[in-house]
Amino acid sequence: MLCVAVKKRRGNFSLDACFELPTPGVVALFGRSGCGKTTLVNVIAGLLDPDSGRVALDDVVLLDTERRICLPPERRRIGYVFQDARLFPHLSVAANLKYGERRAPARRYVSLDAVAGLLDLGPLMDRRTHQLSGGERQRVAIGRALLSQPRLLLLDEPLASLDAARRDEVLPYLETLRDQLHVPMVYVSHDFDEVLRLATCIVLMESGKTIAQGGVGEMSLNKDLRSIIGADAVGAIVDGTVLGTDPSSGLMRVRVGRGELKVQAATAAVGAKLRVQLLARDLIVATQAPRNLSVRNTLSAVVTAVTDDDADSDLIAMDIGETLIMARVTKAASRELGLAPGLPVWALVKSVSLRSHAFAAPPAIAAPPAISPGSPGA
């Protein structure tokens, strides 16, 4: 468990952050540019001292201003992947990777060979850092941080300086770290797609303050988050379980809540987790069982809340079995159908809207790694 509660004033800006991350897991610090995400990450790393507060990782207190504890960054064993990679220009790729490894405690959970394998760094080893592409630089930076055997990995917008193609090149590697090494990560981003792909929980920040936090599914319907990502991106994030392949259509059958969706996705094993996004604008609400429709996916649901979205439309929150989804309907339709909490309805999901949003969801509870990255410092 990572516990952070810190305060820092700096001119007009004030940071007042408080969050917890169950480990292993990936917490996304999400918010608009300039809301203090990087400042918060620097405080966790120890590169910036807060005015007051406490940072603890499992049973190791890294900072406690009341007890006058403040470990310097070099003794915190927190890996940091900077937005601009910060590779050492006078060293080769191999020497960069070994820099942290050489200074790590004797008990290691990941080796140079393993990291080189996971991140495909083998062909880059003998290069100088200025001969690397943007994506390669970030992969080396991630590898270098990992090899310092960190108890926690901080990633400050590691993909922000990359174009879309490079981003897609690096993202799978980050998923690998999460799913295979189970390194706890704090991931800073203002790109919601990245967050959806990597995070297990989201901490929402606004002008220096943490304003909301929770699991990705629960946070996906948060009002403040909606205002940041924009109306078109609003929708429930649901982590479903793969049931199998539908023989007639070839689509993947995924259990979400009590219902079932057919999703076009790369083959996944039965029982695997699949994260799907149900955009509010792609859901249709019916008060009677729909028949003779082209829409393939229908979920039976119960309305839990009707809230104002804008002048013309309402957002309808619905329960599909311990899982909430959300639809946007016009106010007129909402009134005519008499949508109100407690009303049983059917939610119609256009299959196509799921395709590009089917992500491999992180495991709910990860198996502990062979040697835990959480072993306290040397």
């Binding site: 960054p73 890996g79 940091y80």
Partner: protein, 230 residues
Amino acid sequence: MMWLSPSESEALSLSLSVAARSVALSLPLAILLAWLLTRRRFLGHTLLDAFVHLPLVLPPVVVGYLLLMLFGTRGPIGSWLDRVLGVQLIFTRNGAALATAVMAFPLMVRAMRISLETVDRGLEEAARTLGAGPIDRFATITLPLMLPGVLAGAITAFSASLGEFGAVITFVSNIPGETRTLPLALYSALQTPDGDAAAARLAVISLLLGLGGLLLSEWFARRVRRLLGR
């Protein structure tokens, strides 16, 4: 060298030896001061900065005189050195090295500071998060990255040491074979009847050494730039 008289080649080799000692003496201290003045803010920062630069604005004779007062056999430091370590600086080549070191010191520190200011502190922060303590960080990141400035400073100081006249002649006098470096030999040659040819030869040597130093410095700078891919 065939065309130099024994006393002239003696002056040349003495000059090189004095300049080498001078650079070796001042290099570590210059790195420390460059780092202090660039990276630390402390009480007396401005005063220390001014003190380091003093030899640039003082007449060299004054520097030589002050050294004489401090390091002479009866000076507070000179007498201590003599008594405890048995080291005499006055009228020796080590004394000449000290005088040239003091005179070239501001040039050396300045070159290093300029270089240190271009070192990205983000890289030092990255090294910190990878577990490197202060000295470790300095030795493995900061120093290698400021190396162009260290080399440039050393070469400039070496060249300046070869040419220092006023402070040397005031502090350690003009003793053939011990403290008569190139400029002092040149000066002596001019004082001698028929010394014109010798003076011209010494001047040519000084010119070649200076030019060589500048070219060497440029070559180093290019090599380092290529190494860092800039």
